[in-house]
């Protein structure tokens, strides 16, 4: 851009140089990324989530012990965390079991490491499903209006009145003991339940965005130059509604993680897996449930998973807030 022929008049050259110095052209996306990077808490959150993904993938390499193996003779019952001395040598902490062991001699730290897997899976898979269902329906309802729009609005009214947790509980009781509910220790049922409840919120959001965008001049212009409905939606409306959709997605994940933890804590979520090679042997919700029963004997069984849940939801909030500031400058609650 700044390459100027040597014969060009000096004034022109100056103008062009100063223009290019003012601002190199940046895409909307790189603008958002710059804005996001400036938010320290969001970057910390993102860093922590990336770290957790590595932990989840390489869990077998990181965990010092098998998370399901129970060997009370070696591990001891309620062995304290490594730095805590106990008069009873079988309960005194050792670095073989950094966070101690639970009532049947399972290594708390290894369980924590493996628990990362369920939290991430339970957060991300429903989010993808929810966006895949909610976005098209919201686009269609907002763009076409009519009965679909009406049906969607009435449905979301009802879903809003039905407290999500109650619906999760009832779904788990109703379907938890069926063959479908047992798939992958109940993970599949959990995905389905979370998706059923949350897609309406996304659809309503996308509908609102679509309604606002379809009146904009650039959409009008595209329509005037002969773009069909499909092209209008995919090339003009969807890209411009993407910001709020991404932000909504970022906030679905911690909600799903919490829902899993709460349901499992109440004893109707995931089933414990006793298979030594299970890829998803335990979840933080299960650990909290175990920990609450025995925190007087070994408090780290409760502290470790609770802090883990707190940190992951906090990170998602930071990332979500950062994304909102970067992508959706209108809303700043």
């Amino acid at each position: 851009m700044a390459t100027v022929a040597p014969t060009a008049p000096a004034l022109d050259q100056q103008a062009e140089v100063s223009l290019s110095r003012v601002r190199a052209s940046r895409s909307l996306r790189s603008d958002a990324w710059r804005q996001f990077r400036r938010n320290k808490m969001a970057m910390v959150g993102l860093g922590y989530l990336i770290f957790l993904s590595f932990v989840a993938i390489f869990a077998p390499a990181i965990a010092p012990n098998n998370p399901v193996q129970t060997d009370v003779r070696v591990a001891g019952k309620y062995r304290q965390a490594a730095w805590i001395e106990n008069p009873n040598p079988a309960k005194s902490g050792t670095w073989d079991y950094p966070l101690g062991t639970d009532g049947i001699g399972r290594d708390v730290f290894s369980r924590l490491v493996y628990g990362t897997r369920i939290s991430l899976v339970v957060g991300f898979i429903p989010m993808v499903v929810i966006l895949l269902i909610g976005v098209p329906i919201g686009l269609a309802a907002g763009f076409a209006g009519g009965w679909l729009d009406n049906a969607l609005m009435r449905l979301t009214d009802i879903v809003y009145a039905f407290p999500a947790l109650l619906f999760f509980i009832i779904m788990q009781i109703s379907l938890g003991d069926t063959g479908f509910g047992r798939l992958l220790n109940g993970l599949v049922l959990l995905f389905v339940t979370l998706s059923i409840v949350n897609w309406t919120g996304v659809a309503r959001l996308v509908r609102g965005e679509t309604l606002a965008l379809k009146e904009k001049e650039f959409v009008e212009a595209a329509r005037a130059s002969g773009a069909g409905a499909g092209r209008l939606i995919t090339r003009h409306i969807l890209p411009n509604a993407l910001g709020p959709i991404i932000v909504a997605g970022a906030f679905i994940v911690p909600g799903a993680i919490i829902a899993e933890a709460v349901l499992t804590y109440l004893g109707i979520g995931l089933r414990p897996d006793v298979n030594l090679n299970a890829p998803f042997p335990t979840s933080w919700g299960q650990m909290i449930q175990d920990g609450q029963k025995s925190y007087r004997n070994q408090s780290w069984i409760l502290i470790a998973p609770s802090v883990a849940v707190a940190l992951i939801t906090l990170s998602f909030t930071f990332v979500g807030d950062g994304l909102r500031d970067a992508l959706d400058p209108r809303e700043n609650a």
């Binding site: 809003y160 407290p163 009781i173 109440l266 930071f318």
Partner: protein, 337 residues
Amino acid sequence: MFGYVLRRTLWIVPVVVTVAAVTFFLMYRAPGGPWSQEKPLPASTVRTLNAKFGLDKPLWINPEAVQAKRDDGVNNPLTLGRAYLDSQFFNYMIGVFRFDLGPSYASKGAETVQSVIIQKFPVSAKIGLVGIIFAIVVGLPLGVVSALRQNTWIDYASLFTSTIGVSVPTFVSGLLLLLFLSQNFGVSPVRRPEAWEGLGRAYLLPGIVLGLGTMSYIARLTRASMLEVKRQDYLRTARAKGVAPQGVVRSHMLRNALIPIITILGPAAADLVTGSIIIETIFSAPGLGREFVDSISKRDYSMIMGTAIFYSVLIAIANVTVDLSYGFIDPRIRVRR
């Protein structure tokens, strides 16, 4: 305006019907009947119990009952119509609207669901009351102070606390708080039933934990809307005409900043209701939330159904009340309708 209020209020009815129907069918197909327990009851007992509670009737419609009535020579269409709908589903739905939620199956019908709700709900309501008072009394000033002292350490501290409060689920913060208090101060959940009569100290801890999320949300929202109001022209006008700084904050900033806060009271009600299920379990409070969790482990289907419906009616009423109150508080919204 009256038409709008009426429409909005009547909308509760289809919402409740749908919630009740969904709950009914999900619970109907839940495995194991209401009488299944570790030692199976004899078939004759099950039959008697089923007959007693109308569980032997058809699920949807009951043409046989109509035929029986016809054979008896009844021709009144109302009676016949009622007989046609003398089914498990419609009997339950009719019951719901008369606040007759049926017998609690776990008690073999000795107690009705509504009597348990009436007995247990006051404890939950009191915890919720403490929670909402805490949320407003702490959250509002926190938001105001951090907006007035934007980008000072007070602002950062309150923002940090409220971000934690918004994102960390109450059952985690509640458990950690209980753990901390029990290890350092010997506090344990209050189990004596008499401590939960009246409005005693027992309510303090669960109430505060329950209100933590709402408090943080209110603080964040108050801060954001105060900051937005701060830039408005009418504020400059007020200062220019010589209104005292406190007066500006009180009657110009706060009054306008409060409007968005009302919008979250609907979701907050839902939060408090579902939160109470967890909090009461953690703190062993003898309220409806814990009763609900108990009925889950006892597989007391009618209790689960009734409580779920009761909760969603509460939330629907809260939502409608909040919706209607906007119009009264913010004239701009009223005009737009």
